[in-house]
Symmetry: C2
Subunit: 717 residues, 2 copies
């Protein structure tokens, strides 16, 4: 791997030469020269080079680099026609100028001839050790030392120096970042090296990683030339404790070649880029405003591990909204110390919410001192890593006061206070915050998205596993007040009467009955415990699959009873269900109904079996459903493709599944007064034409369900 | 279901009474009265009612409703102490006043006594037909007819009337929306009924659905009292062609009770709310700024079905960024007509991108007429449903000109032009757009998120299925220039030499050899075709599972050869692989390696078997991996819970899986010069202690891989 360039003399040169300096107003050569002599603080000399002039303004101008007076020159800035660039670079080599910035365009971006010129430059660099920055670039800006080796007329306004280092590809968008960092956390160095024929992003990352004044590195990337150099530079940054935030533009997957393995075809280049950024500790963002926001937050310092977010506002709805959004992003919420709680209690009115989220109510806005004290108390709580302060409306003087309060308290605490200006009316309070470098976020979700990128404990919710534990602690089965739970056998009997497709089955009370039942049903069979006290039959040893002989059925009966007696001593055993076993190759889905507090009975469809809890891939509809609802419901789950068949598999029997869903909807509607829960899981779903059959069933109701006099399927043809 | 209230006299009353009108400056009673007499255009009379005054200003004040002069009164506005509200309402009933707005607080939000008061009011409404709006609310605003039945001092500024109807719960945040709609698309009616003791959200939706001037309905909801009334109102709105946009606050899942069925426990109330909104055609959004943005876009009209988005900008990086974000959101991109292409070609420089996304380059900014014409041509293309115009920087006069151009062209076209002001410097151009009602979005992702909510064809990408088709069209196997694909048998032989855990197997060349091999290996076995010409063995009939006898093995040999000959005539058959079959109960995962253009060899891990293409649940790491990388990789997939075990299932053998991943990484590193792809899929992953065994293997390389002299496992202990 090519070593990283040492850029120390480049970023803060003593003497520089401007090749192509011009006296023609507003030409690039004039603006570049002007930026250096008028707006920069170059420690040494700025030499103008141009055969067309003998002087520019009052300063002398030399015809060529070769003819410059003796003395070290650190950087040559080249802004001449592309065809004359190579000659200038050769003169740099002769004069031992270590770095050249080539701003001229007309290289690989312009076609074949330009590409050849770039190859010549690259070869020169390899052979001589000259370092070239560019070509086709706007230059380099060192904001903190006031050095603008750029022709940009905006350089004179780049006054807000700070600890953020930027490297951007595709010059244009970098200016957006500078505009966003013009107050508050500012920029130290900004690299934008155009076609990157020699010096490239990894060199700039490495330089900034080793620069003691740079705290955070922001990258805007369009392409990755050398992945190994990039990851080595990211490694260096991680080693030096410099967070790297990256926005990678160009997610198009079009370039993925036809490949034999799944591995190559499912791993698009964007996914690989993201995985590598993650592997090397870089924080990836999706949009320019997030790049700005996350970089700025990190420049203030990441929240300490173990701390939580405090949401602080004076409006209940805003507190609820922000808490929702933070919850979805899995941001940890701070728990206050007893001291904080006591202090808040004394400062806030009785009806305020003094836990987190804090809703001070609007009353406090009348008393600026109390408002400041309240915010200060929260910032001083050791468990608070940052305070999110959403301001829902522009209230004129009132919100001006809030802004001032945030500014005042921010001065006395290390805990970041992060204002969110939610109103489109961006009045005095907004301007005040901007000017004091506390740029408000403009939406709660924008702020939370940025915070979730930097908070040590946030990330994808660990939901399924955690929620499963809660499910495991649910009461075991049975009959409680106003809540009758039918056993699998009872549920299936009722559903069979109602015309549902179920496997043939019988309840056996002895090993002998089990063997006889199995013979009648036909092998193979599955056998399952029948007990009002056992909700999770498999875990209790109450299920045996693939029984192929009468002897095996008799043995399974005894084995099941013994296992259940061990696993759940005292459980009432009402027999063992012997049931036909469906052929392999079916998919497993779930169809269920439960009662929602607001909407009444709601039907749930999704992937079944073990996938219910792991994938949680379900969709819902209010009951009753029309056929069109059932049809669209099947396609609402994320992994609908599993039903449609992949890699030559046939489609599942979607028509039968639709029928089953409509049958469940009709059944639930008929029993709407008493039904609490109905679940068919798994439903065996065969290939097209082979049906959908409920393998397990569970019914919970407020009381007995009235079975109709006749099979409902026939009653309702 | 309670019928929807007829609110026609409520929203535009002739005569109103203000009960609690006050002369005390800046009291709520004074502000309410002032809003009505000074800032509203009430067609009839505004009666002040308050026993403390005989007149307020120059107008008379009556001691009670009872003593008001004869004549119809449409609405009584009540702003007296909670304890005196009931008396006022009784007088309303006596005077046959059909509607009362109770603004007073001190009801259910204040505790038990207040809750009892509310129950009394509800009973009065049921028994008498009186309609009550409130209590504890800021009132009602009819912007278009200038009627402010509210004490809010901001009402006088609510001047921008339009076709948006709002109903908000939790008064505070509604004002945010009004501030956001103060230019451009404006508000017609704004309901905010506090505790909703009688009139509630569904009544307001129904009223606005039937109001010919309301085009779009925006809802901000905190709770759902009566799901059936809500869905009936949503149905009515859909019937009348009024889009409904809803932000539902309060996603907390804490209220879900312990439930027996999965259905109830996985269906959180937020998921049910979302499903119902979707079922009834309402568009749900996540944040307040999105509620505003989507409502405003819809007020301009949804894009016509079949149309696409045009991205139009003058910066290449911005075009790429916006195209990425639109692509991820699955927004359809417009294809230009030949006429548009020709016009753009004549207007734009050669190096501009005249396909979609359009990058005019910055050159066009110098010629305002050409810029306008270019934008106009695009807006007139029938395939363009909307134009997204991201403006990356504030360039002073230049961006002022762009803003003016957007304003000018917008006047002459029905196609919405949607500006995005990406810079934090919100100068003249930004202000100009705001003032002309073309409020720019503040980030590209915000704009795309809003557009994806309203675009008829967007939604979740249908990726997996589509990409599978592409995979299916991949070339069939074999050896092409610089690309050697090993058969399963060859791949496994090489991997076995390298010490990988594989099932015992032999290649048989005849039915007799197959039977003998199966007997040596032990039953059951699986048998698979060996052919350099067959990539997808299952689809070609080249795989048989669960073979339990020597006879069956011999029969399977013949069957496989016959099936493959039918499916792929002419395919070279090198034999049939006879392999030990692993016990049921294992999970299937994939471990693969491929070569990325930027990062070299990258390892992919994920769920295997049929889930590779449906779930696409994979994660990646650059090779080589350390043990810590392997460990974290397992947890990077979305459904890591499947490996850890759910519902009493034991955990998978994660230690063996880590070893296998490290073994793959080491193998790939060793063969880095030649290896192109390596895929183990499925890998059988047993319960803890039972190992991870590759059931299928595929290797693609640029040439032969050198097997080491000794088994690598032993060489590298």
């Amino acid at each position: 791997m090519r070593p990283f360039a040492d850029l120390s003399r480049f970023i803060n040169p003593v003497n520089v030469a401007v090749v192509g300096a011009s006296a023609r107003p507003s030409s690039q050569g004039a603006r570049l020269y002007e930026n250096l002599v008028r707006h920069s603080q170059i420690r040494g000399k700025v030499y103008a080079v141009n055969p067309a002039y003998s002087q520019i303004g009052d300063a002398p101008c030399w015809p060529s680099i070769r003819e410059l007076p003796d003395g070290d020159i650190d950087v040559a800035l080249v802004i001449v026609n592309a065809s004359r660039v190579m000659d200038a670079l050769l003169q740099c080599v002769q004069r031992k100028i270590p770095y050249a910035i080539v701003m001229s365009s007309g290289f690989s971006e312009a076609g074949e001839a330009g590409r050849a010129l770039e190859q010549d430059i690259a070869r020169l660099c390899r052979e001589t050790g000259l370092h070239v920055y560019g070509p086709n670039c706007p230059g380099f800006v060192n904001v903190r030392d006031r050095i603008g080796m750029t022709f940009s007329p905006a350089f004179r306004h780049d006054l807000n120096a700070g600890g953020i280092g930027l490297a951007t590809q595709g010059g244009g968008l970098g200016r957006n970042l500078l505009q966003g960092l013009s107050h508050g956390q500012g920029v130290g160095l900004w690299f934008s090296a155009g076609n990157e024929v020699d010096l490239e992003i990894p060199d700039f990352i490495a330089c900034m990683a080793q620069d003691p004044q740079i705290k955070v590195i922001g990258l805007l990337m369009e392409g990755i030339k050398d992945g190994r150099r990039l990851t080595a530079a990211l490694d260096l940054a991680r080693e030096r404790g410099k967070p790297v935030v990256v926005l990678k533009i160009g997610h198009s997957e079009a370039g993925v070649r036809a490949a034999q393995s799944h591995t190559a075809s499912i791993a698009g280049s964007a996914a690989i880029n993201s995985a590598v950024f993650r592997q090397f500790g870089a924080i990836e963002v999706d949009d320019l405003d997030q790049l700005l926001a996350v970089t700025r937050l990190l420049a203030q310092g990441a929240p300490k591990p173990g701390s939580g977010l405090c949401i602080y506002t004076f409006s209940g709805g805003t507190a609820a909204l922000a808490t929702d959004i933070a919850g979805l992003a899995n941001l940890p919420m701070a728990a206050f110390s007893a001291q904080t709680n006591a202090a808040l209690k004394s400062l806030l009115p009785d009806f305020a919410n003094i836990s987190n989220p804090v809703d001070t109510t609007a009353d406090i806005l009348r008393d600026q001192d109390a408002a400041n004290e309240c915010l200060r108390v929260i910032c001083n709580d050791p468990g608070v890593g940052a305070v999110l302060f959403p301001i829902p409306m522009d209230y004129g003087e009132v919100t001006d006061g809030i802004a001032q309060s945030i500014i005042d308290v921010s001065r006395s605490t290390a805990t970041p206070i992060i204002p969110v200006w939610m109103s489109r009316r961006m009045g005095g309070g907004f301007q005040l915050l901007e000017q004091h470098g506390l740029q408000p976020f403009l939406s709660v979700s924008g702020a939370i998205a940025a915070l979730s990128r930097i908070w040590p404990e946030s990330g994808a919710p660990s939901g399924p596993a955690a929620e499963h534990d809660a499910g495991g602690a649910a009461p075991q089965a049975g009959e409680t007040a106003g809540r009758l739970q039918l056993s699998e056998a009872q549920s299936k009997a009722l559903l069979r009467q109602a015309g549902f497709p179920l496997p043939a089955n019988e309840v056996a009370a002895s090993a002998g009955q089990a063997a006889a039942a199995a013979a009648r049903i036909g092998f193979p069979v599955v056998m399952k415990i029948v007990s009002p006290d056992i909700a999770h039959k498999t875990e209790s040893g109450g299920v045996r699959l693939g029984i192929r002989t009468e002897d095996a059925a008799a043995e399974a009966f005894d084995g099941i009873c013994a296992a259940v007696a061990r696993a759940a001593p005292g459980a009432r055993i009402e027999g063992v269900l012997v049931e036909a076993m469906l052929p392999a190759g079916g998919r497993e889905v779930l169809v269920g109904v439960h009662r929602d507090a607001a909407f009444g009975l709601v039907l749930t469809f999704g992937l079944g079996g073990i996938f219910v809890e792991t994938l949680r891939d379900v969709a819902h509809r209010m009951i009753p459903l029309q056929r069109e609802d059932a049809r669209s419901l099947l396609r609402d789950i994320r992994n609908a493709a599993i039903l449609e068949g992949v890699r030559g598999q046939p489609s599942a029997d979607l028509a039968a599944l639709e029928d089953l869903i409509l049958q469940v909807s009709a059944f639930a509607e008929r029993h709407a007064d008493t039904l609490l829960e109905l679940e068919l899981n798994p439903v065996w779903l065969g290939p097209a034409g082979q049906g959908a059959i409920a393998l397990d069933a569970l019914i919970v109701a407020t009381g007995p369900l009235q079975a109709p006099a006749m099979p409902e399927k026939e009653a309702n043809p």
